[in-house]
């Protein structure tokens, strides 16, 4: 549903752009850009040849830029002839051969010459006596008669300087000036300059303090949000470190965008020209660029981490697909869907400045204009910049929106704050309208609202990819409308790239399986609820104490019973467990051996286990019949647990002298009995309900004591369900049969070795899986008559009580 809505939005956006752009876009207006990179290089090469300079085969850097003076003239007096003849957009072609020679050719957007700069060390070329005049004719073109010569071969450091000026009589102070510098009959430097001193002063006076205020507010607002983000991040780092992990893993998205800027050559392109302006030739300033990029990435990293730490539970579902994606869960239908919705929503958002322009009826949209990337070797990669440069989105939508969601209750107030912040901050990267213009605010607020809607419906990924869609659509639509062949081609490439990527995302959102969002959300909730580190340390210390206390409650060593071997093992699944085994001496030389399992695990179960142990210990004093003991235990557990907890218990009351035992099983796993005479295993299953399940008479009615006569060599194995329900990585259970098999195999050995064998079998079965329930084992073996009385006994020797 969302995908269809956003698709419709994208279509609406594209149609809007198509319709309104020609009328309201500055680049399409009367800029008459008919020259792309290829054409510019060709033109430059041709002109240079006319000067006798051969630059074919040299390396080129091409950028486009706006002449601010001409822009001011245009704005102030659009009727001025100067403004109409010369377009504000210039294209600069720098040719250098890598050995220190360079030539800079500047032309108007429609390919007419504007300037020529020869920076070769040993200049050669055609020499003419009237080089200056020829050059002037070339630059002024048809407007030559308008100019008046003001300097005639004046000697300067650079060479012979000649100048012509064109004063527009209609407006005072507006002029165009052609300057030509020659040396030895060769043109070294020629240019057309513009100045409009009075207009500039007028304009500054007119909109003075308003503009200044707005222009100051934007960076202030951005700085305030950034400081807030930093503070929020560092205070959350006291409790949790997962924000840093997420931000680091998500960083590859903007990193790819920045990398593409270098790979497509657009950064080097710009850098070459800027460094040339400062006197260096061929310096791509890679180091500077990388440093700046790293700083940008750092800023994005910190913002991402701060945002992640501020996500309230109500918005965690919006971040879950991104969280899954960065953990490597590529088969993520939700993430693909969010990317599609974001990109298509971005198209509609890109149309907003043009609506505002149409509504305001005035200023032209300079949106994303002057991007040098258009003249770069691979202009179609330029929209990728949208994945790393949308600071207004990062600050306001990705950080401020989750942060305020938890703190500002009233929805209308939240939207107000966010739109206001967006209105201010949105002018920062590149303002669609001239700086200080009020339409910027309206535009910023509307676009922020658009991004917010996208975020609320398509999460982090949607908001992150929306600028990509916006860049691609706006730039693509603009380029397609330009008359230059190479630019038009670039525009179609851009749109194709965008559609291809978006279509892939859409297809993936149908074809890929759904990822487990709930798991991701619960992980996020857990991380968000984490107690401060100091508290966690305290908890860990307390658990350690509890674990040791519980271990001390268990018998330190199995008892030495005349004629019998005993071995016991107890591994809790967590720090403290709910299983228990005990070997208590009873009157008349008897021994009570038992294994018990409290329902549940962890601290609660451990506490009830302690209660049971106490009751068993006290029973040892008055030695009631087993059924009475069980009945009393049942009442106690039913009363304490109130139906929410039960305990299963298996008790063997052994009379070693007579080699007879009584066995009572209260809901516990049936113990295993191996008969030496037959070599067979049987499970002992007298009737018995678990303790605490019912306080009524059904407990006693369903309870029986099983008498056992043990013969030399017989083995009784009592265990808890952690043994038989142990799971291996494939999900199989250990099971009773496997236990029986191990016992049969090793029953001839003494109790300790048998216990070890069962443990070993369990460990190798479990392999890499975790122990998920307490593992308890008690082995009782009636020593065969042949074995010497003192051999094979493990554990401390404890005298039987008589």
């Amino acid at each position: 549903m969302k995908r269809a809505v956003s698709a419709a939005a994208a279509v609406a956006g594209l149609l809007s752009l198509w319709h309104w752009m020609p009328r309201h876009d500055a680049a399409l207006g009367d800029s008459r850009v008919t020259v792309g990179r290829k054409e510019a290089i060709e033109i430059a090469t041709r002109w240079a040849a006319q000067y006798g300079v051969e630059i074919r085969g040299w390396r080129f850097a091409v950028t486009s830029e706006t002449d601010p003076a001409l822009m001011r003239i245009r704005r102030a007096s659009p009727a001025s002839r100067v403004a109409r003849v010369f377009t504000p957009i210039r294209i600069r072609v720098l040719a250098f051969d890598g050995r220190g020679d360079a030539v800079l050719v500047t032309m108007t957007a429609d390919g007419r010459p504007l300037s020529f700069l020869d920076r070769r060390r040993n200049p050669t070329g055609l020499m003419r006596a009237d080089a200056a005049e020829t050059e002037f004719a070339r630059l002024a073109g048809a407007n030559a008669p308008e100019f008046v010569r003001t300097a005639d071969n004046v000697r300067t450091l650079e060479g012979s300087r000649s100048a012509w000026e064109w004063l527009d009589p209609a407006l005072n102070g507006v002029l165009a000036r052609v300057v030509v510098i020659t040396r030895n009959g060769r043109v070294v430097n020629s240019s057309v300059e513009f100045s409009a001193p009075r207009e500039a002063a007028d304009e500054a006076r007119r909109s003075g303090w308003q503009r200044a205020l707005l222009m100051a507010l934007a960076p202030l607002a951005a700085a305030a949000i950034a400081v807030l983000a930093a503070w929020s991040l560092f205070s959350s780092l006291l409790r949790r470190t997962d924000p840093l992990g997420f931000a680091a893993r998500f960083l590859w998205v903007p990193a790819i965008a920045i990398a593409s800027m270098f790979l497509s050559g657009s950064y080097q392109n710009e850098a070459l020209l800027r460094s040339f302006d400062e006197g260096l030739v061929g310096d791509t300033r890679l180091l500077l660029g990388l440093t700046v990029s790293l700083l940008v990435l750092l800023g994005i990293y910190l913002l991402l981490a701060a945002s992640w730490a501020s996500v309230p539970p109500s918005q965690m579902r919006l971040w879950a697909p991104a969280a899954l994606l960065v953990r490597g869960c590529w088969k993520n239908r939700q993430a693909a869907g969010q990317i599609w919705v974001g990109m298509t929503a971005g198209v509609l958002i890109g149309a907003v400045p043009y609506w505002v322009a149409a509504a305001a009826g005035g200023p032209r949209v300079r949106f994303l204009e002057g991007a040098g990337g258009l003249m770069a070797p691979m202009p179609f990669l330029e929209p990728l910049e949208g994945l790393a440069s949308a600071w207004e989105v990062y600050l306001v939508v990705i950080f401020l929106a989750p942060w305020t969601a938890g703190r500002i209750r009233r929805r209308w107030l939240r939207w107000l704050v966010l739109s206001g912040a967006g209105a201010l901050v949105a002018t920062l990267p590149r303002s669609p309208f001239p700086p200080g213009h009020l339409a910027n605010l309206a535009c910023g607020a509307a676009m922020t609202a658009g991004y917010l809607l996208t975020y609320l419906h398509a999460g982090l990924l949607g908001a992150w990819f929306a600028p990509l869609g916006m860049h691609a659509a706006v730039q693509g639509a603009r380029l397609v409308h330009l008359p230059a062949a190479s630019l038009e081609a670039a525009g179609w490439q851009m749109l194709a790239l965008f559609f291809g990527f978006a279509a892939a995302a859409l297809a993936a959102s149908f074809l890929l399986p759904a990822a487990d969002e709930d798991a991701a959300v619960s992980r996020m909730l857990e991380a968000a609820a984490a107690p401060p580190r100091s508290q966690r340390e305290k908890l860990r210390a307390e658990f350690e104490v509890a674990r040791r206390a519980q271990r001390d409650l268990l018998p330190s060593a199995p008892p030495a019973i005349a004629g019998f071997d005993v071995a016991a093992v107890c591994h809790p699944a967590r720090e403290v467990g709910g299983d228990l085994y005990d070997c208590l001496p009873w009157p008349h030389g008897r021994w009570m051996l038992c294994v018990a399992d409290v329902s549940g695990k962890g601290l609660g179960a451990a506490l009830y286990m302690t209660m049971l142990k106490g009751m068993l210990a006290s029973a040892a004093h008055h030695a009631p019949p087993l059924e009475t003991l069980a009945s009393r235990l049942n009442q106690a557990v039913a009363g304490a647990g109130r139906g929410r907890m039960f305990i299963t218990l298996s008790v063997i009351l052994l009379d070693p002298a007579k080699r007879r035992a009584e066995h009572l099983r209260a809901g516990h796993n049936p113990p295993l009995l191996w008969r030496a005479r037959t070599g067979q295993c049987e499970f002992l299953r007298p009737r018995g309900i678990g303790l605490g399940l019912t306080a009524g008479p059904s407990f006693e009615a369903n309870l029986e004591t099983q008498p056992l006569a043990l013969e030399p060599g017989d083995v009784v194995v009592m265990y808890s369900d952690g043994v038989t329900e142990d799971m291996n990585p494939e999900g199989e259970l250990f099971g009773e049969e496997r236990l029986a098999r191990v016992v049969c195999r090793h029953a001839g050995e003494d109790a300790q070795r048998l216990a070890d064998a069962i443990m070993e079998e369990a460990r190798s079965f479990r392999a890499t899986a975790e122990l998920h329930d307490d593992w308890t084992l008690l082995v009782l073996r009636c020593r065969p008559a042949e074995a010497p009385a003192g051999g094979g006994v493990s554990g401390a020797a404890v005298q039987d009580e008589v």
């Binding site: 139906g643 039960f646 796993n669 049936p670 299953r685 009737r687 309900i689 399940l693 019912t694 059904s698």
Partner: protein, 105 residues
């Protein structure tokens, strides 16, 4: 009629508990729990039965368990559940049992 599907353990038991509670609150005191698709039950799940059985029986109804898979029945059986609960092989038989014992526990 309540049907259990999949795993009834500490994570899912609260949902089951709420469902039974709601049924009893609404006055439906004769409940049959269809366990034909129940693959696993832990002590938490067993505890849910224990919590509400007295309430149901005191109100003159019962909670009957039907169509339990063999593995799960083992768990019930070891614990002694068949002595406490009416466990029937099919849902129809469990429902029929309600007809056979009007007002009887």
């Amino acid at each position: 009629m309540l049907a259990l599907k999949g795993y009834l353990d500490a994570h899912t038991a609260p949902q089951f508990e709420t469902a039974v509670g709601e049924e009893l609150q609404a006055g439906h005191k004769r409940l049959v729990v269809d366990c034909s698709e129940l693959d696993y039950i832990s002590s938490a799940g067993l505890g849910v039965f224990m919590i509400y059985i007295d309430e149901a029986r005191q109100a003159g109804g019962d909670i009957k368990i039907a169509a339990v898979q063999p593995k799960v029945y083992q768990v019930f059986d070891v614990l002694g559940f068949p002595a406490l609960f009416d466990i029937q092989p099919t849902v129809e038989e469990a429902v029929a049992r309600f007809g056979q014992q009007p007002g009887k526990d």
